[in-house]
Symmetry: D3
Subunit: 69 residues, 6 copies
């Protein structure tokens, strides 16, 4: 499957914070930065999200804001 | 200024694609990955976005989807 | 590849409206409804988006608003 | 009220998963597909969201990603 | 029609910047602040968006980020 | 820090609804309107979000939908 989303960053799950319907997942990227994702708990269970698993963080370009100093 | 957005990734602008009202900006992160952002042309001008400039790509956790193989 | 996004709707491209950096794509779903997607022109080209092509429209649950009469 | 959002899909609520502040709602569309929406619990209560209720799922075109095989 | 979106801010259109497929609209709110919206050009035409028109800017709570000094 | 987001609305926190991983924050703007934001509980704690605190609500133009009567 190929995606239109311009941002596809692969990394490893380092932490999971499970809510009642939402789960927050932290992913360490190859470059050492951390990405945080909020997905439904249903999706986290379905995808077998667990610490140590390799995942890809996917973000549409239109969801990325820029900042400058 | 501190932001609630969990994802704040610093990098350097490597390419700019300017539309009539939207500008797409490519940013190379420290780890070598590329992030693409779509912002208004007005914002790109206001922030002085140009190739070589250091910027921070900001993404809410709720905008980050996950994929697994 | 399996995605965390809860909404994955398959259909056929029926119209494409190409901007300078953004392309709008209309997709007819199996049930006859139409979905409109805005993606970067780069992505539309890369994915070979053309009228008649089968695609999947992907939306995070957190991007779906509800209305009632 | 008319909305700028290009995606307005009508269906019936089939399931509700209530969190502490977020509620996830599943909607069956006319064509048989299912759409999942995450809204605030406050909104779900205010709109009287319950199984069997007819609702419209609303999504901006810019929130719709595409995938091809 | 009642919406789940928690943010519904009424104001008057003060400026329109029309791209090839995307239109950016500036709205002055009752309190004097300005809100900017990017919608498809198709939607702007369909809704008859023009300077002086009263509109409501609608934003999901999950799209609102916070900043503190 | 300057942001590309076109919508930066300052106000005062009037209510906080804390979930397990998500926190909903209500902000009263200068003009008297209320903005609701959903952020991660982690972010709310990190930013010291509490009733009476001055914050800025930040929204990308592409997340703002329009409605007309």
């Amino acid at each position: 499957m190929r995606l239109s989303a311009r941002n596809q960053l692969t990394g490893t799950v380092t932490a999971i914070d499970e809510g009642v319907v939402t789960t927050t997942v932290k992913i360490e990227l190859a470059g050492g930065q951390t990405i945080t994702s909020s997905i439904t708990k249903e999706a986290a269970t379905e995808l077998g999200i667990e610490v140590g698993k390799e995942v890809t963080a996917i973000v549409k370009a239109s969801s990325v804001m820029l900042a400058v100093d």
